[in-house]
Amino acid sequence: MVTGDYAILKLMPKPDTTHINFSFISLKTCNDWLSRLLAGLAVFIIVAPFWPQVTWWMRHDSPAPVQKLVGHTAAPVKAPATQAQINAAGDQLIIPAIDMKETIHEGDKRALRLGVWRRPNTSTPDGGGNTVIVGHRFTYAAGAAVFYNLDKIQVNDPITLTWRGRAYIYKVTETKVVAPSELSVEAATQKPRLTLYTCTPLWTSKSRLVIVAEPVEAS
C-alpha cells in the first residue's frame, strides 16, 4: 500500500458496529429473537422437572376447572374388564394407583425412549418367571417420564398387564431401593413375578426404585 492509499483509508468513515444491517435482518432483531429463545429454553429447563408433579396435584387435589386446564379426563384409569377391551388394549401396563396406562415396548435399548420397555433378557407374563419392565423417571427429551410417579405405588396396589390377548393381574408385594449394580432384580424366578424399576431419587440415577408384584389371577 502506498502512502496515498493509506491517506484515503483514513478519510473514510468508520463502520457503525452497533447497527450492523444484514440484507434481511438487523443484529438487534436477531438478538431480540435469541433472547426470547433463551428465555423459553430457561423456562423449559426449570419447569419441566416439576411439571408431572404439578399435573398430578392438579388432577388429584384440585377442583374440576383446573383438571380441565391440564386436559385430565375425569375418568380414572381402569383395567380392561372384557375380552374385547383386552384385545383392543394390546400389550399394556396399567397401574390405576398412579393413573398410568402405557404400551409395553419390545426391542433393544432404543425402545426405552418410547415409554415402558420390557427387558429382553427377562420373561414374559405368559412365560412365567420374572417379567421386568423399566421406564424413565424423568428426562428432558430422551423419552417420556412414564415412571415419574412410581414412588407413589404402595404395597397391595393392583397392576394389570395385558399381554397377547390376555390380562394378568398382579398385586404389589414389595417396594425397595437398591444400588444400580443390584443385578438380582432381573434374575429369573421359579414363580411368576412382575418387577418394575426406575431411577431414584427423582432427577438422579443414584439408585433404583424397584416394585415387585405377584400374580393374583389370570383371565
Binding site: L38, A141, A179, V185, E186, C199, S205
Partner: protein, 36 residues
C-alpha cells in the same frame, strides 16, 4: 454493551443450555440397571 457483544453472550448461553439438555439425555441413556 454493543450489539455484537450481546450476540456472543446470548449464543454462549444458548450453547450452554443446549449442552445441558444433551448431557442430561446422555445421563438418561446410561440409566439401565447394570450400566451404572
Amino acid at each position: 454493551m454493543k450489539e455484537w457483544q450481546r450476540t456472543i453472550i446470548l449464543l454462549i448461553l444458548l450453547a450452554l443450555g443446549i449442552g445441558f439438555l444433551i448431557w442430561s439425555n446422555h445421563q438418561a441413556d446410561v440409566n439401565i440397571l447394570h450400566t451404572s
